[in-house]
Structure formats: C-alpha cells, structure tokens
C-alpha cells in the first residue's frame, strides 16, 4: 500500500488515477451496455480499483501533487490528507456498492449504460473536488457534478424535464453563491489555496465571503431553501439516482466543504453570527423536512424529505463550531450516506418488483422480500436513532453539540427525532408488515436478485459496524480526518440525554399505535397529525408548493416578465399606433384646414406676418 501511495505521489499520477480511472470505467461500462456480465465485471474492476487507490493513499499517509499548468488563479494543486483521504475512502466504498446495485437495477434497460457513464464520471468529479486544494479548480469539479446530475435527471423524464430544470435553477443559484464566496475569499486572503488559507477572520468582507461559501455548501447538501428539487426528483428519477446524489455524494461534498469552511478556511467561533446562521438553517431544514416526510404516502418521496431533514442534524453539528459538533456532523453524514442510500436501495427493490413505490397500492411485502425487509429494519432503526445503532451515536453527539449551542436547537433536534421515528414506523409498517397489497396486474412478488440485495446487506452491515464499533471508526476515520486527539466515541456519558432520546422513541411508538388504532392500518398512522387543526392548513399550503421558495422565485420571475411585457407592449403601441396616429391626426387636421379659399390664404399670410411681429416683440422686449 505504501508503495502504491509513493507511486501516486509521483507527478501527475494521483489526480490522473483518481479522477481519470472512474471516467474510463464509465466509458467502458457504457460501451458494454448490452453485455450484462461484462458490465458487472467492469463495475467490479473499476469500483474496486477506486477503493484500492483511495485506501492506498489513506494508509500510505496521503499525497501532495502540483501539476505544472497554472494560470488566472487556477492551479492544479491536489492534496490527499486528513479529511480528504478519509472522505475518499468512504466515498469509494459507498460508490462501489451503489454501482454494483445500479448494474442489476438497470439490467435489460437501455438507460443503464448512460446512467453508469454519468455515475462514474460523477465519482471522478467528486474525487477531484475532494482532492482539489485550489478553490477555483474545486469549483470546476463541483460544476461538473452539477452537469452530470442535470443530464441524468433529464434522461429520467425527457418529455417533461421539470425536475432537471428545477435542480439546475436551485443548484445553479447555490453554486453561484459559492462562486461569489470563493471570489470574495480569494480577494480577502490574497491567494486561492485552501492549504495556505489558515483561518481567515470573519469580519468585513470576509464575513460576506464566509456566509456566501457556507450558503453554497449547505445548498449543495440540500438544506433549506435549496431543497425543493429533491422531492420532485423523487417522482421522476430512478432509485439509484436518489441513492447516489441526494442520498450520498451531495452530502459528502456539501457537509465536507462546510466543515472545511468552518474549521480551516475561516475562523468561525461558537456563538458568533455565522454559527447562528448555520444553526438556524439547520433547525429549519430539520423541522420542515421531517414534517413533510411525515405525511407522504409514497416511499421515494417520503425518503427524499428525510434526505432533506437529515441535513438539518449535520448542520446543527457544523453550526455549533465545536469539535464535538464537527465529529457529530461527519459521523452523521457518513451514517446518513449508509442508511439513506440503503433505504433508497430497498425502495428501488420494491420498485423493481412491483413497478411502484406508492404505499397506497403496494404493501405488506415482508414475507415476499425477507432480505430487503431485514435490511430496511436495520436502516430504519439506524435513522430513528435506536440505541446501539449508528444513528443513535451520531445523533447523541448532535444533541450534545446542539445543547451547547442553545436549548432551542436541542428541542428542535429531539422533536425531529420523534417525528423521524413516527414516519419510519409508518413506512415500515405499511411497506413490509400487514397483509400483502399489490398493484393491479401483478400476482406475486419475489425477492430481488443477489446483485441488488447484497449491496444493501453490506450497507446494513456497515450500519451495524458503525454503531457497535464506533470507537474503532472514530479512531480510524474521524480523528485523522479532523486532526483531533480527543475521542468522542463510546456510549454517551450524559444519561439524561439518552433517557430523553429513549423517551422520544417511546413517544413515537405510542403515537404510532394510537394512529394505527384510529385508522386501522400503518399507512394512516400519521393521519391524525396531518389532519390536526392548524397543521392541516399548513400542510395544504406546503403540499401545493405555496411554501416552496423556488415557486416564489418562479412567480417573481413570471411577474417580472409580465411587467416587461406590458412595458414592451406600451412601447410598441407608442411606435405602432401612438406616433403614427399623432402624425396622421395632425396631418388630417392640417389638411382639412386647406380648403382652397383665397380669403383663408390671405388671412393665413397676415396671421403669419402678425406671428413674425410677435416673435420680434417677444425677443426684443
């Protein structure tokens, strides 16, 4: 491993290998589109090669490469070390599992080849973004990822590319903010390399740079108000897309950069205004996302709202600006990537077998798909924060950090935990337990193929490992990533917090049972919250998109263009009707005055004489 690391460290091998290999793999997987076995082999080879190279770098002590081309502030400076090598390794593992799943998911589907192509290209871009120490170069990779997502969303619904357009708009705005932030940051620091920044003070122009960069990074992760394309994508895009982009890659990049901004680029202090900004956005994102998840009846849409709300937890960690918060954010981000991707995989399995994930048409699949169900249960327990699972440990750390920042944030986090648990009790109950319900036309359902369930099983195993072995994980990953010597792993020390968390889970269970009894099924178990006085109206507003900032923007743009149209029409009227009418009218009026009468002519001439006289008098007197 050290040898490989040394080889990579020579010259251009590091960026070429980690960025170039996935690109090559994507092209090959695409070309092998019609040969399933070879495609699987290609995915295995290139996925494992990516893991191998990342591991080699991580274990070999990192690397630092500067390419010989530079100019205009763009400099090919790639660094593997600390956070970036840890994230590279983690990304490579998750990416490999998802790639393997995707091959099987798209078996016999012509779109599979294109999906794999852009997926692998995205991995190359993510690797590049993680490795880039130069901010403008990082932005280039960042935008490359955006383009890949746009293409894939577009392919998901070619007739009506609303999700692609919405994503491009929203992520485009977020990236624009990030770009502005980068420009300001370069201006403040005088150079563009993260490694040489050394914690700029958050004041004056620097405050704007920090805020803009943070907004961009959080927007990438899917925080409010940059979230609303995700539920729409859940309707149009495939499950692998959701698992890959909103589920893992975007969070890795967004939260990874947020942590970098707070800890390495800027000197953000706990309790500062910048910290509060992040905390508030986190809290709002968390509450909004989980509230919307609660009432969804489609598995993919429900999960997509959780993909939003989980960002809230991570941001509560980042926003605290404390070491524990950073560990919490990183830990929770990784956990989320594991279980959220896994959950999307189970949704994909159901979709693959029944053609839908709408729980009003499908449900009670536990007996038919036992492996999928088992994985789902593990993911569900993890995301709900059941004691002993990975989500529990990271959430306790978030609670810690939130409590240090302010009791309000803790309460929000706890309420979020309750609602998360409620929605997953409902989801699991409806999808896997109870009587079997199948859409019309489908008689029976089998478990999916090994190629699809094995990645989910591995993810589930990783969830268990990240929970049970969190000390090891902390030692291996978080401490080197954040450069900490202190350990935050192990069973939480504050028993009161644990007790409160357990109480929250019990409360959720009680509510679930109450809801079940009231409506007679798991699917309607959250309806009493949905239809509670006050909430019902709020939900109606949210469901119709009235609370979506994107829609406000679209309405504002529409209004602006209507105003422009009025102005345009007015100007056109002046040109087309007004001026010609005025001239024509004046012309007719004058013409009518000419009647051929000599008397009139003479009078006119005398009047002209009088006019000249008056002019002279006016000028002279």
């Amino acid at each position: 491993m050290t040898g490989v690391a040394n080889w990579l460290n020579q010259g251009a091998a590091l960026p070429l290998a980690l960025i170039g290999l996935p690109l090559l793999g994507g092209v090959i997987a695409w070309l092998l589109g019609k040969r399933y076995a070879l495609q699987v082999a290609a995915v295995l080879v290139f996925g494992l090669a990516n893991i191998f190279l990342s591991l080699a770098l991580f274990l070999g002590g990192g690397a630092d490469v500067t390419l010989p081309f530079a100019g205009y502030g763009f400099e090919g400076h790639f660094v593997a070390g600390g956070m970036s090598s840890v994230l590279l390794v983690f990304t490579s593992v998750v990416a490999f599992l998802l790639a393997r799943y995707s091959v099987s998911y798209f078996k016999g589907d012509t779109r599979g080849g294109v999906f794999l192509l852009f997926y692998f290209v995205s991995i190359g871009f993510v690797n590049g973004a993680l490795l880039s120490s130069n901010l403008p170069v990082m932005l280039v990779f960042w935008e490359g990822l955006l383009v890949c997502m746009g293409v894939l969303l577009l392919l998901g619904n070619l007739e009506k590319p609303r999700a692609a357009i919405k994503m491009l708009w929203i992520s485009g705005v977020a990236d624009l903010l990030l770009m502005l932030g980068v420009i300001v940051t370069i201006r403040v620091s005088g150079q563009s390399d993260i490694a040489a920044m050394g914690r700029l003070p958050v004041e004056g122009l620097g405050a704007y740079g920090c805020a803009l960069m943070l907004l961009g990074a959080m927007g990438k992760a899917g925080a409010m108000p940059f979230h609303s394309w995700i539920p729409l994508a859940a309707e149009d895009a495939s499950s692998p897309f959701l698992a890959v982009f909103p589920g893992s890659l975007e969070k890795i990049l967004g939260i990874g950069l947020s942590i970098q901004i707070v800890t390495r680029i800027y000197d953000v202090r706990p309790g500062s205004a910048m910290s509060t900004l992040v905390l508030v956005i986190g809290a709002v994102t968390l509450l909004f996302g989980v509230s919307m998840a609660l009432i969804q009846k489609d598995m993919k849409r429900l999960l997509s709202y959780h993909a939003i709300s989980q960002v809230g937890y991570m941001l509560l960690g980042v926003g605290s600006c404390l070491p524990v918060g950073m560990v919490a954010a990183l830990f929770h981000m990784m956990n989320n990537a594991l279980y959220k991707s896994g959950l999307f995989l189970t949704a994909g399995a159901i979709e693959r077998r029944t053609g839908t994930t709408d729980l009003r048409h499908v449900g009670g699949l536990g007996r038919a798909m036992p492996v999928t169900m088992t994985c789902f249960v593990i993911f569900g327990l993890s995301i709900s924060g059941f004691p002993g699972f990975n989500g529990f440990f990271s959430k306790e750390l978030v609670f810690d950090a939130a409590l240090e920042s302010g009791v309000v944030y803790y309460i929000v986090a706890l309420v979020g935990a309750v609602m998360t648990a409620i929605s997953f009790l409902k989801l699991g109950g409806a999808a896997f337990f109870g009587t079997l319900r199948l859409p019309r036309g489908i008689k029976q359902v089998r478990e999916v193929r090994a190629g699809m369930y094995l990645p989910a099983v591995v993810l589930a195993a990783l969830c268990v490992f990240f929970g049970a072995g969190n000390r090891l994980v902390d030692q291996w990953l978080f401490q080197p990533a954040l450069g900490l010597t202190e350990s935050f792993a192990g069973w939480p020390e504050n028993w009161v917090l644990v007790a409160l968390s357990v109480a929250a889970l019990l409360l959720a269970l009680a509510d679930h049972l109450y809801g079940r009894k009231k409506t007679g099924g798991a699917l309607g178990s959250a309806d009493h919250i949905h239809h509670a006085p006050g909430l019902r109206q709020a939900y109606a507003l949210a469901e119709t998109g009235k609370l979506d900032p994107y829609n406000w923007l679209v309405a504002a743009v529409g209004g602006f263009s209507r105003v422009c149209q009025w102005v345009e029409n007015g100007v056109s009227w002046v040109y087309d009707k007004g001026v010609p009418g005025l001239i024509g009218g004046a012309s007719k009026l004058l013409h009518r005055g000419v009647n051929g009468s000599l008397t009139r002519y003479l009078l006119l001439a005398v009047a002209g004489f009088a006019g000249v006289l008056i002019l002279f008098l006016l000028i002279l007197l």
Binding site: I583, G584, A586, S587, K588, L590, H591, V594, G596, L598, R600, Y601, L602, L604, A605, V606, A607, G608, F609, G611, V612, L613, L615, F616, I619, L620
Partner: protein, 486 residues
C-alpha cells in the same frame, strides 16, 4: 478683360439675345427649335456659372463687379457676382435646363411664348442674383413674378387659372410688405445699396427711427416668406404648382421660390449679420415650415401636391442652415438648396412622365409601375433617398452639413429637431413610392410604356447629378476647405 470678367456679362446677354432671336424669326419657322434654343441657353448658363465658380475661387477675389451697357470700371459697376450668386446662377441654369427639356414634350401650344417667358424669368432671376441694392432686387423679383403668373396661367394643366390667381393675390400682399419695408429702410438709411445697409442701423440708442428698422425687418421677412412659400405663408404654393404645367412647376419649385424668397432672406441675413432676433425668427420659421410641410405632404393624393408640400418642408432646412449664421451654415444652406433643386426637379419630371403616360396624377390609382416605367421609378427612388438624407446621395451630405452647422453654432435643439423631422420626409416619400411604383400592379396600366424624349433625358440627367455630386461631395468639401471657404 479676363474670362472671369466676361462670364457675368453673358448671364444677362444670353437670355436677351435668345429673346431677340425668338421674336425676330417668324413663329412658324422657329416653332420646332425654339424650346431647344432655351434649353441651350440654360445649359450654357449652367456650364458658364460652373466655370465661373471655379475661376472665382482660383482668382482669390471675393466678387466681380461690372456694368452692362456703360462700364463704370472695376469695383464701381452696378452689378456684381460673388461665390454665392455664381453658385446660384449655376442652379438657375440647371433647373431651367430640366424645365426646357421637359417642355419639349409637355408644351404643345405657344411654344414660342414659353421661350419668351423662360428667358424673361431667367433674366429676372439672374438680375436678382447680380444686383447690388435692395430696390433693384425688388424690381427683378417682380420681373420674375410677372413671368411666373403668366406661365402658370398660360400652361395650365389640370386646373383652371385659380393657381395663378392665388399666386398673384398673395404676391400683391408680398409687394405691399416688401415695398413698405424698403421705404422704412430708405427713411432710416437714405439708401438701399447693400453697402449702406449695415447692422449699425439697429444700434441707434433711444432713437425712434431704430423702430423703423425693426418694422422693416418684420415686413421684409413676411414679404420674402410669401415669395419663398415658408409656412404659414405657403398656402398659394401647392395650388400654383398643381395647376401649372409640369415644366413650369419645375421652374417654380426648383428655383423661383428659392431665388425670389430664400435668396432675398439670405441677403437680409448677410446684410444684417449679427442681429440675433433675425436668426432666431428664421430658425423658428424654418422649424415650423419643416413640420407643417411634411405633415401636409402625408395627407395628399396628387403626386405634384406631395412634391409641392415637400418643397415647402425642405425650404425649412435651408432656412435653418442660414439661421446658423456662420459661413458653414450659409454654405450648408446653399448646398442643400442645390441638392434639393436637383431632387425636386427630378420629382417633377417624374410627375410629367406619369401624367403624360397615365393621364392622371392621383397616386391612389397607380401601383406597381416599377416594371412599366423603370427609369422614372429609379430616378424617383434616388430623389427620395437624396431628399430623405440617405448616404451617399447629395441630399445626405447637405443635410449633414446643415446639422453640423446648427450644432457648431450652438443651436443643438434645432439640430435634433431637424434630424428627427427627417423621419417624416422618409415617411411621406415612402408612402408615395409604395403607392406609385411598388405594391400590386394595377391592371389598368398594363399597356403603359416608359417615357421617351426630353423628359427621359431630364430624369437621367438629374439623377446622375444627384448621384455624382453625392459621390464627389467629400472631394468638393476638400476643395472648398483648401479655398478657405469652410
């Protein structure tokens, strides 16, 4: 005597000689050649004056003075010609040539009388340009007017004598204004010679007789404005042009109003240089004229009436050039006058061609004549573009110079107005072109063929002048600059 001193004599001698020849030889004999003779006289005047302009510039003298029958010697003579009048003499020759060429076709009866009247008219115009005092100017003005009334009446085309009568009536009013004004000036200055009339007349402080001068100015401006057809004194003009034969209309529009009216006004501004109100009033009159003429042209249906109102409108630009008061302004005005004369004469020859071939001048009855009459159509388009001020035709340069003169004289508002108003020029001429030459062909004119003879020659000649002058204009400007005139 040098050639330069001989040339001015010919401007008076040639028309008189032609007049004598025309009346000595019996009518029946000379009938076929009489108009050709007047065309020769006009052409000769054009060439002589052209040569005179260059000789005068080269000689470096400001003017040539001479006497006709008794020669009082150099610098004493009662006639004189300077660059301005020499240039205008050339314009007179050009327009008279166009008129005579048209008359070859259009005038059938009283051909001998046409020559007589044209020669008298040229004598009057040339006389106005050569004299050295305001009263002689008035006398020649009346000579010109007299010939005009008779010509309009004698060669009436579509209407009765009404046009001639209206011109006569308004000219009578103009005579009253001018004579009264001249007498006021005479009371004050004791002489009407140009040398005696200076801006100093207006500066007598607290003197009641200064008032006489101002009154004279008001009267003279009004009188000359009637003669030149400046709005609101213009009402006789379209009626007269419409009722006259086209060959006569060409003279009236192309040069008579220009010399009788505009040259007189120019003389006033040159004599009383520095009298600010004079220029302001001229500028305001010019603006008003541009607007009213263009608006009225938009509403007309008769080809000649459109051309007539266009003449009124274009007169405004010439006045604006003179109102700038600078050398550049006067030069711009004169060049505008020239390019306008060429373009407007072309329009009237087009009108003659249309009237001859179609028997009507109502533009609503025409349409799609481009194919039937390509020369007439092309000449009309060139005249339109030149008048509207489109490069590279003569009208563009002269309009540009007027605008530059106004701008550099500080009259920026007037310059902006003149520029915007030229859109109106484009509007009424495009309307004309669309209705007459473009658009859907009217089946009624399927048998129509292109005009031949003098009218065709005249059309081609005037078009060549417009295009050629436009093309060599930069060279002309360089020449004038080298001569120290701008």
């Amino acid at each position: 005597m040098t050639v330069l001193q001989w040339i001015p004599h010919l401007f008076l001698a040639l028309p008189m000689l032609a007049l004598i020849v025309n009346n000595v030889i019996p009518r029946a004999r000379i009938r076929t050649t009489t108009i050709a003779m007047s065309a020769t006289v006009a052409g000769a005047q054009m060439l002589l004056a052209l040569a005179g302009v260059f000789l005068l510039v080269e000689s470096g003298e400001s003017a040539v003075r001479f006497g006709m029958i008794w020669d009082a010697g150099k610098n004493v003579g009662y006639f004189q010609t300077d660059l301005v009048s020499m240039f205008l003499l050339m314009c007179v020759g050009m327009v008279a040539l166009a008129s005579a060429l048209t008359a070859l076709t259009t005038i059938d009866d009283h051909r001998g009388s046409y020559t007589n009247l044209l020669m008298v008219m040229m004598l009057g115009l040339n006389g106005m340009l050569l004299v050295r005092d305001l009263f002689s100017l008035y006398v020649f003005l009346e000579v010109t007017g007299l010939a005009s009334f008779v010509m309009i009446g004698m060669y009436k085309s579509t209407r009765d004598l009404e046009g001639a009568f209206k011109y006569l009536a308004l000219s009578a009013l103009a005579t009253i204004f001018i004579l009264t004004g001249l007498s006021f000036l005479f009371i004050k200055a004791g002489s009407l010679a140009f040398d005696a009339l200076t801006p100093a007349l207006f500066s007598g402080a607290g003197d009641g007789s200064t008032l006489l001068c101002w009154a004279a100015l008001v009267l003279l401006i009004s009188g000359y404005s009637i003669k030149s057809g400046v709005a609101p004194f213009h009402s006789w003009l379209p009626d007269a042009y419409e009722s006259a034969d086209t060959a006569v209309s060409i003279m009236l529009s192309g040069i008579v109003t220009k010399i009788a009216g505009v040259y007189s006004l120019l003389t006033l501004t040159r004599l009383f240089d520095g009298i600010a109100p004079l220029k302001t009033v001229l500028a305001l009159l010019g603006m008003f004229t541009i607007l009213v003429g263009a608006l009225l042209a938009l509403a007309q249906k008769n080809f000649k009436r459109i051309a007539a109102y266009s003449s009124v409108s274009q007169m405004g630009y010439i006045l604006l050039g003179f109102a700038a008061g600078t050398n550049l302004g006067i030069l711009a005005g004169l060049l505008y006058l020239f390019s306008h004369s060429a373009a407007k004469s072309a329009f009237f020859t087009n009108a003659a061609a249309l009237e001859k071939q179609l028997g009507t001048l109502n533009i609503d009855e025409m349409g799609g004549l481009q194919k039937r009459m390509p020369i007439t159509s092309g000449s009309s388009v060139v005249a339109l573009l030149s008048t509207a001020g489109v490069p590279p035709f003569a009208g563009f340069w002269s309009k540009l110079m007027v605008l530059l003169a106004l701008w550099s004289a500080g009259l920026k508002g007037y310059a902006a107005f003149a520029l915007i108003a030229s859109i109106l020029t484009g509007a009424y001429f495009l309307r004309l072109q669309k209705k007459v030459f473009f658009g859907k062909p009217n089946p009624r004119w399927d048998a129509v063929v292109e005009i031949t003879g003098g009218i065709r020659v005249s059309e081609i000649l005037l078009t060549i002048v417009t295009v050629a002058v436009g093309l060599v204009f930069p060279l002309l400007l360089l020449y004038l600059q080298r001569a120290g005139l701008i």
